[in-house]
Amino acid sequence: MSKHCETFEHTADVGLKASADTLGELFEALAEGLADFICRREQVKTKETITIEARGDDIEALAVEFLWKIMDTIQTNRKAVAAVRVMKIEPNLVHAQVDCEPLNPARHETGTEVKAVTYHMLEVREVEGRWAGQVLLDI
């Protein structure tokens, strides 16, 4: 079991590129990469676990919808995210549990707010038994 996520650069914005053994882990890697970008996860303690659900017309749209929910969890509902676990994933549906705690700007190290998860350069695909994906964030 392995998953990995890193950022890449694009003009004024930032992208996330991830790979994992399974599709579920790929979604986890992208979600945790996004969370790290907005508010570094290493300082976050798990005080509650919330469930999120996203739907999309295809696997790529599903990834975008899922990441919007993660972004909302942090920026709208003000939760600092420690970890994301995908519980169920189908081509049009994903269920995940998010370990988190209330975001406290005095204690959590925050980065830059994300305006949107875009459809530009969007990719989710399986290559030689491993999943790879990338999305571009509007900053």
Binding site: H10, T11, R40, T110, T112, K115, A116, T118, H120
Partner: protein, 486 residues
């Protein structure tokens, strides 16, 4: 990554370049890019030129697909782009032509304070503003609005804040569209978007958004500057922010729901992020109603930011904001689509003018301007980077003829955020800025590095280009003294 532009680019005159109409790629009009010889290298490297050509393919586009000298790559449409579509000739509206941050814009306040009197206390004044103005991730504002209140705010814009005693007649008069654009309809705004905006009105956000304490360092037109309250040495406050999470969600919602729309109307697009609908189609009208609601939200956001800054100054100096002369110079939108009338081939036509990273710059005599500016032209506010300068310009009659009453919106980035961070390794950007006489405060871990002056073109070059082209008139240059960022 932005790919190299492979189309034809020819020099039109000293300040404009042209991408000739290429029927093979479906272009209906030329692309015209405002740029000096010095800036064109950055313009080509910025990756927006293909997007200028793509926008020229959209139904109903008239004149040319325009780009300003601060152009850089965007989603579908470039940043720094202006596109006008003839509503009565099948012209379209596109959410991507406005962008995610609907009515991102700039507000400028003046004051009776003098830079020399304020400079010795700049650190503590900046700290006061940094404490009092909510900014950064996860920081809510002191203003919360119930569901019913947010509905009124979205439908009525600053008129609603005026009713609540949170905006004055003078604030409204000194705001584009009086801070209240007609035709907004809250029912076109999703509940998710409304929730995102509920407690974010009056918060700065992060990224390139800022509040800056400045002073007037150079006056180019003394009479115009005096009419705006911008005499040499005066302290000013500039605010750059937009419609926060609410506007971002509105754009995201409509980019998604409009994916299948172009096909329905037989519109063939070179890039799916140019999704659009004929202006009179129900899908277009619904987006327009939601976009206008988000625009109203953004004007209210900047109003409440200005209120908090006035309070911070008032607390700091022990005088009311009125005693400090903190009047609003103007407030402009630089991400918006508006219905405006222009003469095209000898006939007056109703156009849907998309400005994405471009500022309205109406010339003298426009009935849309408040009395105090009608003979001068519209004030145009151009933020630069936090080390060098910002500018105040006026719209011109030439802009009405050449660029659908539009001009540039800022300096334009030249370094990606990553490059900027790498270039600041081992450096203290706050110390470097302090040596330049600027106190800078940021909540985010890399905010100052990402936004360092070297990440942007020199705004003087951008402004000189639009002034030389005749689409703006220079009034004053403002230099930063204290900056707060999210």
């Amino acid at each position: 990554m932005a790919r190299q532009f492979e189309g034809k680019l020819e020099r039109l005159d000293g300040n404009r370049w042209r991408i000739p109409r290429d029927a093979s790629r479906g272009m209906r009009v030329d692309g015209i890019i405002y740029s000096s010889d010095e800036l064109i290298k950055d313009v080509v490297a910025g990756g927006g030129l293909d997007q200028v050509a793509n926008v020229a393919t959209l139904p109903g586009i008239v004149g040319a697909s325009l780009a300003m000298p601060d152009i850089h790559w965007g989603y579908g449409f470039c940043i720094g782009g202006v596109a006008a579509m003839d509503i009565d000739a099948g012209g379209v509206i596109s959410p991507g032509g406005v962008g995610y941050d609907i009515n991102c814009g700039v507000r400028l306040l003046t004051s009776d304070l003098h830079a020399d009197d304020v400079r010795p206390r700049m650190e503590t004044l900046t700290n006061q503003v940094f404490r009092d103005v909510p900014c950064g991730v996860g920081v809510g504002g002191p203003y919360t609005f119930s569901g019913g209140e947010i509905s009124r705010l979205l439908n009525e814009g600053m008129k609603y804040l005026h009713h609540r005693g949170l905006a004055s007649d003078e604030d409204l008069a000194a705001t584009e569209s009086a801070g209240s654009i007609g035709g907004a309809d809250v029912s076109a705004v999703s509940m998710e978007a409304r929730k995102r905006g509920g407690d974010q009105c009056g918060t700065l956000g992060s990224g390139n958004h800022f509040a800056e304490i400045q002073y007037v360092d150079q006056v180019y037109d003394a009479a115009a500057a005096a009419a705006m309250g911008l005499e040499q040495g005066r302290v000013t406050v500039m605010i750059h922010s937009g419609s926060r999470g609410l506007g971002h969600q509105v754009c995201g919602d409509y980019l998604k729901t409009m994916q299948s729309v172009p096909k329905r109307y037989g519109i063939d697009l070179p890039d799916r992020q140019l999704v659009c609908a004929p202006f009179d189609a129900p899908e277009a009208q619904q987006y327009l109603a939601a976009m206008r609601a988000a625009a109203n939200f953004a004007w209210c956001n900047r109003q409440l930011l200005a209120e908090q800054i006035r309070k911070a100054f008032s607390h700091f100096f022990g005088k009311s904001a009125a005693q400090l002369g903190m009047a609003q110079v103007y407030d402009v939108a630089h991400n918006i689509a508006k219905v405006e009338t222009y003469e095209i081939n000898g006939k007056m036509r109703r156009l849907c003018v998309h400005r994405k990273g471009a500022t309205r710059a109406f010339g003298p005599g426009s009935p849309d301007l408040p009395d105090r500016y009608r003979d001068l032209g519209q004030p145009v506010l151009i933020p630069g980077d936090m080390g060098r300068a910002s500018h105040v310009l006026l719209g011109t009659a030439e802009a009405m003829r050449q660029s659908f009453g539009s001009t540039c919106h800022g300096a334009g980035r030249v370094l990606s955020r990553g490059e900027a961070i790498r270039k600041s390794a081992g450096r203290r950007i706050d110390k470097e800025l302090a040596a330049m006489g600027v106190i800078a405060k940021s909540r985010s871990r890399e905010g100052l590095a990402e936004e360092q002056p070297a990440a942007y073109k020199d705004v003087d070059d951008v402004v000189n280009c639009v002034a030389a082209a005749g689409i703006s008139h220079k009034v004053a240059r403002l230099r930063p003294m204290g900056v707060i960022k999210g």
